[in-house]
Amino acid sequence: MNAPITFHENARRVVANPVLRASFRGAMDFLMAKRAAQFPDLDAFEALRTQGEAIRQYSLARLPDLLEQLEANLTRNGIQVHWAETPKEACQIIIDITRKAGGDLVVKGKSMVSEEVELNHALEAAGIGALESDMGEYIVQLAGEKPSHIIMPAIHKTKEEIARLFAEKVPGVAYTDSVDELIQIGRRVLREKFRDTKVGLSGVNVAIAETGTLCLVENEGNGRMCTTVPEVHIAITGIEKVVEKLEHLPPLMALLTRSATGQAITTYFNWISSPRREGELDGPKEVHLVLLDNGRSQMYTDERLRATLQCIRCGACMNHCPVYTRIGGHAYGTTYPGPIGKMVSPHMLGLDATKDLVTASSLCGACGEVCPVKIPIPDILMQLRRQSQGTAGGIQLPAAGSGRRPLQSMAFKLWAGLYARPLLYRIFGFFATRLRGLTPKWQGAWTNSRAPLRPAAQTLHERMRLSTTRD
């Protein structure tokens, strides 16, 4: 069992910090505006995301077959496929490949799955270094932190904080808060490493089964460096990222980059179809793909939760989430924050460790409205709440019911007992309104920030009964 995440404390701390609050709000407003500008025609967006949803659902419906087809075609292309059920297995596979290649450092492109398996820690424990080459990830690594957003890992940091961090941590760098200069500093450090490092690692955005191709989207060119310059390229991704055909790719890409960063098209698009072939002058000599489960089969098993796997990791749900906007990514204490994190983390860490996450939503639906593959996020959160309460029926996830609190269950039993009995309910209403003068001033958490609730002088029932014209 994983230790419960200290979500409440984390959230409380951020909410009380006006600088962070303003910074998150500014960043999310910026991202929302950029995305909105890419989808000016809502009908066109709806048509495109319906297509995206259909592609993801079609792929998931055939997932076991597609994974076999993918493995066969990757193998045919000379890409070695490894299956990992747990983070530990995934890390061990990567450690073994790195050792065999004689590497002591892995230079990494951006990969949330590598964060999910905590690869950098595992490598370190095995005496292998890890260097993040995505600028945001590089910043986060220098600071000894984790990403706070799946697309923009360092979005919680101001320019000045990054400037101080570089001056402090990068040898021979003087303080500068010029963004261009900071980027050049990072670029100089990383270029050397790309050239000298034996193993490069990347994520995968989409894997195409029929052609045995790995697709990688990125903006900085570091992904291309990681996947082409070192002798060995290791890609890691979740088992859900596969689609059947090449033609399934364009709609997903059109949705991904627009939803994520408000870009019509990505700066770099990498097709990884094989290691260096005979006669070719560049490219890695070995390419490996690590396919990770880590709870994904569990998401797949329950039809009511399967849509979780439709996700293409664009991050739009967190950019539009009023909760994420208030507390930022770190407060969640999970690799994936925001609405997507609330949906996937219970499967990765257990319902017990994440019970505060599944309730941390007003179910406002902003996430579901922008989701490019139409994941019904509020519905899935409600289903996870039922799992957490042990009331889901059908398939019960491990630790189902661990979020149950006797007092809350009792309260809802009493509530149902009252509200399902009309006469009793009317008597309750009568006394609640007559005794309104006795309403307590302190009403638990409600009155922390609100005036107490006070019933009206008469219920609507009473007023309707007393008026003569109605039955």
Binding site: H8, A11, V15, A16, P322, V323, R326, I327, D356, T359, A360, S361, S362, L363, C364, G365, A366, G368, E369, P376, P378, M382, R385, R386, S388, Q389, T391, G393, F412, K413, W415, A416, Y419, A420, R421, P422, Y425, R426, G429, T433, A445, W446, T447, N448, S449, R450, A451, P452, L453, R454, P455, A456, T459, L460, H461, E462, R463, M464, R465, R470
Partner: protein
Amino acid sequence: MTAAHNSPRRYSEKPSDVYLFGTCVLDLFDPEAGVSAVQLLEREGIRVHYPQDQTCCGQPAYTSGFPDEARAVAKAQLTLFPGTWPVIVPSGSCAGMMRHHWPRLFADDLTNLPRAESIASRTFELTEFLLNVLHVEWKPSAKQKPETVVLHTSCSARREMNTHVHARALLAKFGDVEVKQQEHEAECCGFGGSFSVKHPEISAAMASDKADALEATGATTLVSADAGCLLNLNGTLEKRGSALRGQHIATYFWNKVKEGA
């Protein structure tokens, strides 16, 4: 939400009778809004029936992960609205619960599913009904100075029932109402039922930002078609000593219509 939820709805002719489902929040905390809804409907020549045995749509338990309790309460409503008369609900999220979630709640209960589906298909949020079925003709009042109003629509009202569109269209009918637009209008006010007490700090931060945005418009009146949001917003506004208060849109409309008549 499925696509069907957002597809355009076909409206029938104006009926002679309707049911009012008053909601548990209005029942206890704002009965005036329920009475105003009745008056607005009666003014259009409609007979309003208010079954005395009604209680709650079951939403609090439904969204908290207690489907059995939600079903028990919702089931007690199912026999109260027989026939074909529309069921008018003066609160967007309750209307959304009945229209979209009742059929799912009773999906495995073949005895009750037809009733749930029948009511779901006849459920209208009040402003939607006034606008699209009754086509109300409200005259501008003779006031010299237009009053400024800011509209808050709840998330489920907005996303499940399009209430922001209907409420805005109705407000526009008066001619002497200037509707101010608040920053981040579509963002949640932080209520979310049990969310407001399970995550009080986050909820308070959302409510406080919303109150800031509403106050910043300088509007003299806040109106909303959702009773839950109003509890949250008015509680927050009162605690911070603001002069602004929210009023249920039915009450606001009835006062305006009465004035104009």
